[in-house]
Structures are given as C-alpha cells and as structure tokens.
C-alpha cells in the first residue's frame, strides 16, 4: 500500500512556463514533507521541504504547497528552465517515526523543452 503517491510518471513543460508536480499521501501522521530532484547517474538532491504547520514554503523559483485536508502537496517551478529536467521525488516523514526514515513516491520525470 503506497503511502506517498505521485500519480503522474511524467510531465512535459515549455521553457519559461510553470511546472506543477503533484503528490498525495495517505498517512495522516506525516508532518514533514520534502522534494528531491534527481539527474541520471547522480544521487537525489534535496530541493525544498515543508512542515505540516505551514501551507506554503518558497525558495527562489521553487514553491511547495501543502493542503492537509486533502492530503496533497505540490511543487511549483516558475519559470521552468531546461536544467530543471530531472526526476522529482516527493517524500514524507513524521516526528514519531524513525529519524529521517522517509517514505518516497515513485517519482515524476519532468522534461522542460526549450
């Protein structure tokens, strides 16, 4: 049973437009959410996170939105750049869980076309 779901395996966006990557979760105990970006042949790199006490966190071109009632979070990239083309993983954890033991979604491959 998947606790963290990324229902879109892939997404294609034009350069300069907004990219929206979505993630749903089922465990209401989750209280910390993260996004990672992964290029081929490299390890995943931490991108941005959000605590459940917030509904928005922004870092430059990247914004994560959290809707706790819907158990849904999204990552917005504005404007999208070709270098953003990568696989994006959503992950979740909770304070009472094993430290840093994140539950990951299966990833969404983002392609930003020039």
């Amino acid at each position: 049973d998947q606790q963290v779901k990324q229902n879109s395996p892939s997404l294609s966006v034009q350069e300069g437009r907004i990219s929206i990557l979505n993630c749903d979760y089922t465990n209401s105990m989750f209280d910390y959410f993260l996004w990672y970006k992964k290029y081929p042949a490299e390890g995943p790199t931490f991108l941005i996170s959000i605590s459940s006490i917030k509904d928005k966190n922004e870092d430059g071109r990247f914004t994560v939105f959290l809707n706790k009632s819907a158990k849904h979070l999204s990552l917005h990239i504005v404007p999208s750049q070709p270098g953003d083309s990568a696989v994006y993983f959503c992950a979740a954890n909770w304070v009472g869980g094993s430290q840093g033991n994140l539950i990951f979604g299966k990833g969404t491959k983002l392609s930003v076309k020039p």
């Binding site: 490299e42 094993s98 430290q99």
Partner: protein, 114 residues
C-alpha cells in the same frame, strides 16, 4: 555536499557471490541509511543505522545485511547476490533542520548481478 563517499561506484558481479558496498561520511552524522532505487519503485529503504553497532531493517531488507563498526562507515553486504539485486544503491545521512530531519544522499553505487 553531505560529505558522503560510496565505493565502488560501479560493479558487475556473478550470481551467488558476496558483495559489499561501502559508505563513508566525514561529518559525524549519527544516522546513516542504505536505499535502493528501481524503475517503478522510487527509493526504498534497505537498512539504517542510528549509531555504532545499532542498525535496523527497512522496507526491503531481505537478502541484505549491514554493519557499522565506526561512526563514519556503513557497510551494505549482499551475502549471495541475485539478479533481483541489480539496482542503484544510495547511501544517505540525516541532518536536523529547522522543521524536521532531511536526508542527504551520496552519488550512488551501480550494481549489476549477472
């Protein structure tokens, strides 16, 4: 850069042979992890460690063992490699942030079992 070094980075081995992957960190983090990444499965936790000689199983621990005799080194051993263990293996550490624990990954070890 989380100060994580994985070795070997690439390895081809035969079915039934033992394989050990090494993870070395330079920043004295207490928690270390081994994940595997497979198409369609995202990132899945194999084992983790919360201190020297303190380890626990993750989601996909069957066929794997780990050891941590020093803070800086976390070893993953496949006692008798099988083709289903062909995968990319990522070591990770956990660092406490303002809102929660964030995992940082190494660059990965590509293992092919033939």
């Amino acid at each position: 850069d989380a100060g994580i070094t994985q070795s070997p980075r690439h390895k081809v081995t035969e079915t039934g042979t033992p394989v050990t992957l090494r993870c070395h960190q330079t920043e004295n983090h207490r928690y270390m992890y081994w994940y595997r990444q497979d198409p369609g499965h995202g990132l899945r936790l194999i084992h983790y460690s919360y201190g020297v000689k303190d380890t626990d199983k993750g989601e996909v621990s069957d066929g794997y063992s780990v050891s941590r005799s020093k803070t800086e080194d976390f070893l993953l051993t496949l006692e008798s490699a099988t083709s289903s263990q062909t995968s990319v293996y990522f070591c990770a550490i956990s660092a406490q942030g303002a809102d929660g624990n964030t995992i940082y990954f190494g660059e990965g070890s590509w293992l092919t079992v033939v």
